[in-house]
């Protein structure tokens, strides 16, 4: 499948799972988008590729207020979280994130909004391709915690009525920005 089609398929599936997909022009555009939608303090979980793209300076130039943390539990005060990602899965609109670094997990579980940066070139088709990708991500560190995230947190536990945002993020924003993922390196914090 052509990469454009794959991106379209990804976007469709992600949107139907309730995510917002935004095509960023560059890192400043991404930072501005985050600033506009964060709604409060942002917990930034940096990794090598995000840093190479210049997210730290872009964020400080933007209007966004970055969360100051003195202990890990301060993460609970974040309103939004920003993480990178390693792959996308087109068929389901899933982002695959190496979440071994604790900050990545805190930024993607506690806040109400989660912004994920994804390189459109890293979008794979589906579960068939995911196996190899997951194996590549594993064993780069002594232990690992990998996440598939598809849309916001949801429940249907009361009368089977689908309700968004029970424990995890209520809003998931996928920011497509080229040359972000470095799967061969994984995420280092």
């Amino acid at each position: 499948m052509k990469s454009r089609n794959r991106i379209n398929l990804f976007q469709q599936a992600a949107e139907s799972a309730g995510a917002v997909v935004y095509h960023c022009q560059d890192v400043n555009d991404a930072a501005a988008y985050i600033a506009e939608h964060a709604g409060g303090a942002l917990l930034y979980a940096p990794n090598d590729s995000l840093e190479q793209l210049g997210f730290s300076p872009a964020l400080s130039r933007s209007e966004v207020s970055l969360l100051e943390m003195t202990s890990r539990l301060d993460a609970a005060d974040a309103v939004a979280g920003l993480t990178g990602s390693n792959y996308g899965l087109a068929e389901t609109g899933t982002v695959v994130i190496d979440s071994t670094a604790e900050l990545v997990r805190l930024a993607s579980t506690l806040p109400e909004r989660h912004f994920v940066v994804l390189d459109p070139q890293a979008i794979l088709l589906g579960q068939q391709e995911a196996g190899q990708a997951l194996r590549d991500l594993q064993h780069q560190q002594p232990a690992d915690y990998l996440s598939y995230i598809t849309g916001p947190s949801r429940t249907a536990d009361i009368e089977r009525v689908l309700t968004i945002g029970v424990h995890g993020p209520c809003e998931l924003y996928i920011l497509l920005l080229s040359a972000v993922a470095q799967p061969e390196k994984g995420v280092s914090s």
Partner: protein, 720 residues
Amino acid sequence: MSKTRTQQYKQDVNEALNTSRLNDALHRFGDAYLEARQRAFAELDFEQLRTDIAEMKDRVLTSRASLREQFIREARAAGATVFLAADAEEANRYITDLAKANCVRKVVKSKSMVSEEIHLNKALENAGVQAVETDLGEWIIQLANQRPSHMVMPAIHMFRDQVAELFSAETGKTESDDIKHLVDVARRQLRREYLDADMGISGANFAIADSGTFGLVTNEGNARLVTTLPKIHVALIGMEKLVPTMDDALKIIQVLPRNATGQAITSYVTWIRGAVPCGDVNKELHIVLLDNGREKLAESKTCKDALRCVRCGACANVCPVYQSVGGHVFGHTYIGAIGIILTAFYDGLDKAAELVKACIGCRACVSVCPSKIDLEEIILQLRQQVQEEEGMGLGKSLLFRKVMRNRRLFHALLRSGAKLQKPVTGGSRTIRHLPLFFSSLTEWRSLPALAPEPLRDLMPKQQQKIGRQRYRVALFGGCSSDFIYPELGLDLLKVLNHFGVEVYFPEKQNCCGIPALYSGDRETAQEMARQNVAALLEDQPDYVLTTCPTCTMSLQRDSVELLAGEPQFHAQAQQLASITYDVSRFLHDVLQVDISQLKTLPGDDGDPLKVTYHDSCHLKRGAGVWQQPRQLLQNSGHEVVEMSHADRCCGFGGSYSFTGHPDIANAILADKLNDIKHSGVQCVAMDCPGCMMQIGGGLDHAGSPVRTAHTITLLAETLE
């Protein structure tokens, strides 16, 4: 003792049947589920996927010991501590000791059926540790002090007003019953618990042997918090969750969410390998691998397939008994068909005894199981075990052993029954009221009377007019066609003669043996199988035909299995199985009749007769026949209108609707009658005398003008 238990169970059943709000909700859920599931699988080959999963799981079963070792080795290498727990007590002790050693006061838990199985919360409480469930459904039932009634949606039996009441008690404020609001309350209340907790406990959906990884498939995001925030993480994993590789786990992921909730994938899938960072140190990860009856199950020749289960909950979703009484009555810790089986192994056969008898045997569960488990067959095996241990009651046992095995006696009794029933029937073919203590049997359906002359006496008197003869076939009547609806045999004769087939009735045939088998009397069933194999093959017919799918299943499947240990009969049973057909399939597939030569009688209004078709469980899901009768009816000029849930059980189930669970049978029938009514037809067609008894009796009792007819009868009428 078993008598009191049965009475208690029937009381629970009645209470549940009277909770109409719950029944409605489960019916609506069942409908929505089927639609969502169909959409989710639209572009996938479900049969292929489930065959693959079953094969993979079977490989796991054979090499479970080495896979377990591999998993433990890999998980330890990544920094996890692994503990093998032989039973619930060992698992609970390990976890409570761990909590005590680390001065844990509070534990947050994400959903784990295994923890329900071992009653971990109770054990923690006894050790002075507070356990907080964080899955919304689990939290609700924890607050309500109940147990889950569904494996995927534990609080499916509760309603918003009840939840609002529970939450109000928790927050000390009056919470509105708006669902979004209630979900927000849960988010707020539980958020603090994650931050306060010293230990997180999760389950797992897979344990991947070649990397020591385990996987969690979730929607709410609570499992991610539970496995991230507290410093200690305990993953409680049933031994059956082992798979060889990541690719095997991904294969299950393709099917599990689709089959559970109709989602292509859940919001979160989390893969954890080893002790990951937690603040400045690494997390303390403990994996408790639980046996608790699983090894015993693996060793059971007849039940081991149950270990393939991936816990999607689908077998409950489609089960008419579950929809009628809910998971608290049709389940123990685990719910629905798989729940019955696991209960027998994890909690003991006595805990499962009432449950195995409450299954009506419709095989709806089998058709949706993504691990291709023949749940109904396993439940049947367990029912036999229960009967062996508890006996089946003197009356039944006398009937099967002394009467039915002796064909002459059995048939003589049926003949005198036909004469003796006169006072109740007044000579009519239906019984609308039975006197005295039998009266409850006709409270909700009328019953057919025994025919004045059985088919076995009528057949030899028939003139057979055959043009160019194509085949000579033996008719297997089966008790209900022989003694209650002999006209089915005569209709069959007429239609087949028309297409050049001679039909004869082997005199020495007996009951097919299913009533005995389903009541747990295997020996009688074996004796019947021997008698029938000999009787039916004696005159070397080209084919053996039936008008009853239960008989078909018995001859095609059960006889072969029952006689497997008897070389002189086994080969014959196999031969018999290969030439046995139900009449619709024979007409359609073997004779390939051009049915349009038959002329259709129009309905009262001159238009073609509007017919809806009811699929009998044993015909559709036992023999795989459902298109053929529809095609025959359509080609013979009937207008076939599909009703909703055409293949849902009618609630007959043989003795189930008489002595087993008549109340559940009645509830299931009510659903069927409702669907028939809404289809707006003049006639409901089917290929099973049992269904005719149930549906016909129900329609008659309700005074409905809709006629009940066997497909062969409708075809015979077009020959007039």
